[in-house]
């Protein structure tokens, strides 16, 4: 039943606009319980000179082309490929990681060192991604299963995992990891 009309300045990409329509629909469904088919979204775009706040024209903030989920996927893919330079690209200064049994780590090479003592390599199979927008940052959670090899070369798979990321200003600021590796480790 609800109709959502967003007035905004023209200039956002098609990808961003469609993402906005999608997520506003999901949010409205989540709060009001309306069926998605009954939720309509219109983005009414105005020209830059057709908008003013406080009487002055404003340039809108630049929207990120990548959804937070995409940035997390790209970071995890780079880490899986051990391409630390590509992975760094997605991080903010002060990025912090916490893994099961690890201290809080701030550098990717520290993570590589710490994890190399626990497994030879690990691959993630994703079951779902969630993105939650909060007041001044977003949180992305992904979960699924791990497969890989222990330091002694024996393999493992179907190990449950979940990662929780915090994103501010389009960069990852924090990663917390949980998994069942401790249950299976030789």
């Amino acid at each position: 039943m609800p109709v959502i009309q967003v007035s905004l300045i023209r200039g956002y990409s098609s990808k961003v606009k469609q993402r906005l329509c999608r997520r506003l629909t999901d949010t409205t469904r989540g709060v009001l319980g309306a069926v998605p088919e009954a939720i309509t979204v219109f983005l009414h775009e105005v020209e830059t000179d057709g908008y003013a706040r406080g009487g002055h024209t404003r340039a809108p903030a630049a929207a990120s082309e990548e959804a937070p989920e995409d940035r997390v996927r790209a970071y995890l893919a780079a880490m899986e490929a051990r391409d630390l330079e590509a992975a760094e690209h997605h991080l903010s200064d002060g990025f912090v990681m916490a893994f099961p049994g690890s201290p809080e780590m701030t550098s990717l090479s520290d993570l590589i060192a710490w994890s190399s003592e626990r497994y030879r390599f690990v691959r993630k199979t994703f079951q779902a991604f969630e993105t939650c927008d909060k007041e001044d940052h977003s949180v992305v959670i992904c979960h699924g299963h791990l497969s890989g090899a222990w330091p002694d070369g024996t393999t493992f798979d179907s190990i449950r995992f979940i990662d929780r990321f915090e994103i501010r200003n389009n960069r990852l600021t924090r990663q917390d990891v949980w998994n069942d590796l401790a249950l299976t480790r030789p």
Copy 2:
């Protein structure tokens, strides 16, 4: 900069309306990158006879007074108090639980039995809750730390945990749990 105007039928409670304003603001910030102070939401309410889809008056879906997060909190509190009857109230038929090392469980008494072999009791301290609205269900994730006692009576605390819940039609349908208990168990 963006202004979001929602046209909807009058009748939602103040709590639900404020939740809608809050979450639409967060969603818009998350997608467009606009600062919250520049995002305005108006809920324009119409009377039942001032709305039609397909030319017919429609009764809107009933919104849940509790936010998904509140339902999860209430469920976890009931479980911590071992009040299974109160806890059941929040569950849908076919509710499934998966814990580290557990099989998929469908009844709360099975969970009680399974967990009693692993710890005497456990208390959760929450660090954050996230609610993510998806196309036809919502996901609530909470994380923090566990404290409690092993079966032998020795205590533990500061054990990292994260729970992921799926909610459909205001009832919990699934709970997946990860924690670092296996790292510390005597």
Copy 3:
């Protein structure tokens, strides 16, 4: 797909508001070809002091509680019951009637006299009513079948008929009638 939002002063009855929603939906379907389920109408009512044209508060025109179709039905029912006083209530001054083979008539008693030479009585069974709103008047068309008795007492039925009415300012201004009585008259 289209959403129609009407801004208007509060004060119209529920019946009128629902009629407006219904007919705006039908009109939009007729022009755009959109399926009715995809056409949403919202009536956003404002207080009298929240509306101005030319800077001045305006009192809105009084809407007729009866739809034009209802007025035509009431008129035809009164005529069928030969209750000329009740029938007159629906007519404007200068109401004109034209029947097959009749001169233009302006008084109901003239019509009674003219028709009494052609049939003893006639009853209408309606198949459909259409209301068409034009720039400054509305037209109501109804069609169906006639049954009744000739002056000699023999009966007739299933005679095709169609009546076309013009309505201005909530009163009938013109009635044109066609039927197949001439094909069957003894």
Copy 4:
């Protein structure tokens, strides 16, 4: 007094947009009794990627360039010219015709045969057209006068007629005709 704002996807032709403005104005006048000069219509067009229902982009239904009235005029002109191929173009399968004293006919050649026994030719002079949009089809009514020649060659004119058409999906599905020919036939 009322202002009608339609949110719709960009892409409709100028002719269709102006027709929508015109007919929404007439409908509003018809229901609310407002004077036309006080009824304003705005069509706010959004880009395809600025619209979503159920969170998904939708392609709008294709609007007919011809108004239902234009299609009826074209059909009647083709029939008057005895151009059956052009006339067929406007018809749906299952098109049904009923004339005074005729059986229900489904083929244009049957109509030609039936009418050729009643008159040599007939021409229509139109007095008015009405288009009424209903829930899932539209009705077009036209009336005026017939002139022509009987089978014996003698001419007639000023014979009252009215035609009622049903249109679904831009094609004529039904035509019902009434006229006073029976009153004058030699």
Copy 5:
């Protein structure tokens, strides 16, 4: 042609709402050149819980019941009656006055003293008032004619005057006066 729709929180008085409609109409006429009859204003009021900026409910600023022009009229009337206590009520701290040939004065008693050397009393007849809203204050200008008596008792009238006031936060902050008294003074 233009339609102005204001979304605002319910709670403003009828007087304030009508003033807003009036002045928005005048402003639009002044900028676009549209005739007033073609400018429509709607104030769409929402409940307090149906509004959020930055995701939070906000209490709207309190609007002044008196228009700036009314406050100026009240101040001038109090001064004319030499009711300094009533006049002070309309002033902000730091109120400054400048008259022809006077120093900048900050207290009403200084003004009384200064003017008593120039005339026994003076009455204003107003020709027009203008209110100009600027970015953070409003300016009220009134002009007309003065009549009164010189210190020697002889009278004067039809002396041109104009007063310019600055108003911030509903209080007068500055008054500048010009008049032709110097041309006529004995």
Copy 6:
């Protein structure tokens, strides 16, 4: 807090649109007392075929590119340069001027003659301009100080002045002037 959305036909220049945003913001602040940062304006432009009043497309009035204030500045600059031909360009027929001690004058050459007896030349330094839009005309007021030379060649400066102009249909119709020259004249 308030959001102002103007629906209007596309075609106004950027300068005019930004002026409209600016002045609607100021007007709203002036009436409601809202802080400017909380007032948002959107101009939603529609195509010519997406607008109708009374069901008919309308061509909008042509907006003046120059704000009333700019026209006054241009007129005063032309007068200061004694370029009467340029100055005339800004005037309507029937333009009337009233200066301190002058009769009402209707021709610029009369003004030149009248003022030449009072001063050799005069230059204006502006302190502020106000534009007030009224129901069918606008008023521009400017004030500041005069400097110049008397007929005998001696100079003067810092003489207070204020000019009040009436503007209709983009042309100046009236100018009223006040100043303190009489206080200082030799």
